[in-house]
Symmetry: C2
Subunit: 298 residues, 2 copies
């Protein structure tokens, strides 16, 4: 099956799972549920759940058995976009070619919908349906909370906004942007891979290899995002482009130039592939995923 | 020991625990940590952690063994206040006699600090330090996520803001306000009691009794809050008063009048006490807690 079809299959599966998950919560106010659906359904690359499924698959775990973790990762990703888009943060009106949640509803609904999506992610992981063994479930909760929290995704968004709104640090170094992005984007992508390893009852070395793969992949993802922002077509990308440069953000393109960023992307792709060499043919789809990032157009 | 001293002891203990918990996260940006500390330390009645400790104590669980759950409940309570105070929500500048987080920092920092506190709560619960048995930890995570999420606390805040900002429903009934507050305030207070029961390995009947106690106590808490808002002194309460009436909120006082609300508070107190009759002397402190609410001045 071509890689694009594998991604499309994961997209359909995750859409179906998220639809079912959000339909279970009829005790919640309808406005809140509508905002949560707006944030979660009808689009998105579903890259994180794809990685959960693919990494669990390295150990022979079936996609259905990775369902809870895949859904949780996408719920957290969705919440982070809802909050990041708020006027007080990135002030984005367009996402996946649609109005963002605060545009479609209002700010308070968007804040609450994000809060509810984040909380739901942990409800899903703690539910016995996510994994029969409670040790696996607590390991998933712990991995996700660490990756999404103050020392991970939320911390990275804080560093990003400190740079943009407060101008600190005055001259961001490559080291600073690498740390920022490792937290903001890399941590959750690495967590997706780690969750696959946890579900697969990987040994320590295997889990570390998949985490390293995820971290490197996260970096490749961010570099390709920066390249898309600098060169992409808004109609294809589905959101505003050339926004980072306008905001004076310290992107890989700003630091290294287009050619430098492209070279770094190719190097990073090779590193990601090297990290999973030990798994051989079982990790073929992960190798394809790494190669895919340097070719993506949206 | 007089009840006020027991509450004061829990306050000191929880302050110490929260300080230690927030000091562990040095990998997070300092601005974010400062906002999280501002939100969590230096005040608050610590009523939810007090209930976790007290309910666990019914089963002979020592306060130190309830530490993780107590801290998690207070982190979630703290996050909810940070987000509720935002300009897009309740637009409050003062909390516990101090500037709210968005006033002391800014809106984006407050949104992120709330997100990070919520996420940290689940990290704390999933950590083996919260309880050695993974079954207990996942039960705690599940209980907290359900209570704090779309069908619980966040859903209640949504109903509250729908009433205030959108004027729906046009004529709130007693049933509507009871549902709203059961979600917004009651769910987390009931969860605190439930977590105590989980830590104490309560049987189903015991757990349900403590949940019922918590729900009733949550209602009493809200009625007393409404009475304080209607009659309290801002200098004693430590936040703006008479705000609910000004905002046209459907409070118990607005629905039943001062005397009616006082009567309902007394009835509710009796119901809470009846719910824990089966525990006898082991639940004496819970009985005191219920009586305390109808006498509190802040």
């Amino acid at each position: 099956m071509p890689f694009n079809d594998k991604i499309a299959e994961a997209e359909r599966r995750v859409e179906r799972w998220l639809t079912a998950e959000l339909a279970r919560h009829s005790a919640a106010p309808e406005r809140l549920l509508a905002a949560m659906r707006h944030a979660s359904l009808g689009g998105g690359k579903r890259f994180r759940p794809f990685l959960v499924i693919a990494c669990a698959g390295v150990f022979g775990v079936a996609p259905e058995a990775a369902r809870g973790a895949a859904v949780a990762l996408e719920l957290v990703h969705g919440y982070s976009l809802v909050h990041d888009d708020l006027p007080a943060m990135d002030n984005d009106a367009l996402r996946r070619g649609q109005p963002t949640v605060w545009k479609a509803f209002d700010e308070w609904t968007a804040i609450l919908a994000g809060d509810a999506l984040l909380t739901l992610a942990f409800e899903v992981l703690a539910d016995p349906a996510a994994a029969p063994d409670p040790n696996v479930r607590t390991a998933l909760v712990l991995a996700l909370a660490r990756a999404a929290g103050a020392a991970g995704m939320v911390g990275g968004q804080c560093l990003d906004l400190e740079a943009e709104k407060l101008g600190t640090p005055a001259r961001p170094t490559v080291g600073h942007i690498a740390r920022l992005q490792a937290m903001k984007t890399g941590a959750l992508i690495a967590c997706a891979c780690e969750c696959g390893a946890i579900l697969g009852r990987a040994d320590k070395g295997q889990r570390m290899a998949l985490e390293r793969y995820g971290k490197t992949l996260g970096l490749a993802f961010q570099i390709s995002d920066d390249l898309l922002d600098a060169q992409g077509d808004a109609a294809v990308v589905g959101k505003a482009v050339a926004k980072d440069a306008a905001a004076g953000k310290a992107t890989w393109v700003a630091l290294l130039g287009i050619d430098g960023a492209r070279r770094k992307l190719v190097e990073t792709e090779a590193e990601a592939i090297a990290a999973i060499a030990q798994f051989g043919a079982a990790a073929a789809v992960l190798e394809e995923a790494a190669r895919f990032l340097s070719r993506r157009e949206k």
